[in-house]
Symmetry: C2
Subunit: 147 residues, 2 copies
Amino acid sequence: MLDETDREIVEILLRDSRTSLKELAQAVGLSSPSVSERLRRLEERGVIRGFTVEVDAKALGFAIQAIVRIKPLPGKLHVVQKLIEETPQFGECDKVTGDDCFVARLYVRSIEELDGLLDRIADKAETSTAIVKSQPIPRRAPPLQSS
Amino acid sequence: MLDETDREIVEILLRDSRTSLKELAQAVGLSSPSVSERLRRLEERGVIRGFTVEVDAKALGFAIQAIVRIKPLPGKLHVVQKLIEETPQFGECDKVTGDDCFVARLYVRSIEELDGLLDRIADKAETSTAIVKSQPIPRRAPPLQSS
DNA sequence: AGTGAAAGATCCTTCTT
DNA sequence: AAGAAGGATCTTTCACT
């Protein structure tokens, strides 16, 4: 899918997206224009979706993360989904197959805040909450190799 | 935690981390040096952990995502954790309280690949897998407001 | 696909206020 | 925190392989 060079480029950018074309070029052993062109295509193909910044939840005061499984009561699916989307403390939410409909990540400053947020869903869904104790793998990109 | 200006800066960078100081400056109504200093402090404080690139799993051929709950068999915790960490298709893994020990996200190209990966854990842990049907909330930052 | 050089644009930082 | 200015740095273009 990605050749060796593209892979290197993406890996470097994952580590620091401020890396200049010039630096990238010498890292992969190509010229700046070549790297520029490759980058253009990586974006065009959608491999690189965008340039962002990583924000640290703890530094913002969100000391606690929880993984919440949410099973809306009959007829409440849309209301629940809307509620989740409108609650900014949800930092991620997947709609999945199986008994639980949603799996979501919640950022909160305290157990009280967690309790408060869950209460707001309590009459519309069954929830099951697990507090995050550590992150063996923080969010990372899928493999770039075809391996 | 963050004043209005910092928040704007971070929001803009979340959208496009290539935004120049100059652009940031005029967006928030300050001078470049001021913004530069604010940025320095945001990084120093750890609010901005780094500059990255968002990579698209689908574009890399990983058409399927799954959320896997993993409960290691007695005595197998470390082996399982190591296995997870060394499997690049795991794009995220949290160690959580409760019955299931780990909750992880898996990127796979096919159901066969999913099956294969789960088989490798099968004799060391109980797993429960849910296929992701949609993402009501793709990964996003925690609230920047103190609200 | 890629190179190399060059031009032009842009940017970041420093300094003074 | 502003504003101006200096100097560095980058990105893109173009002709050619």
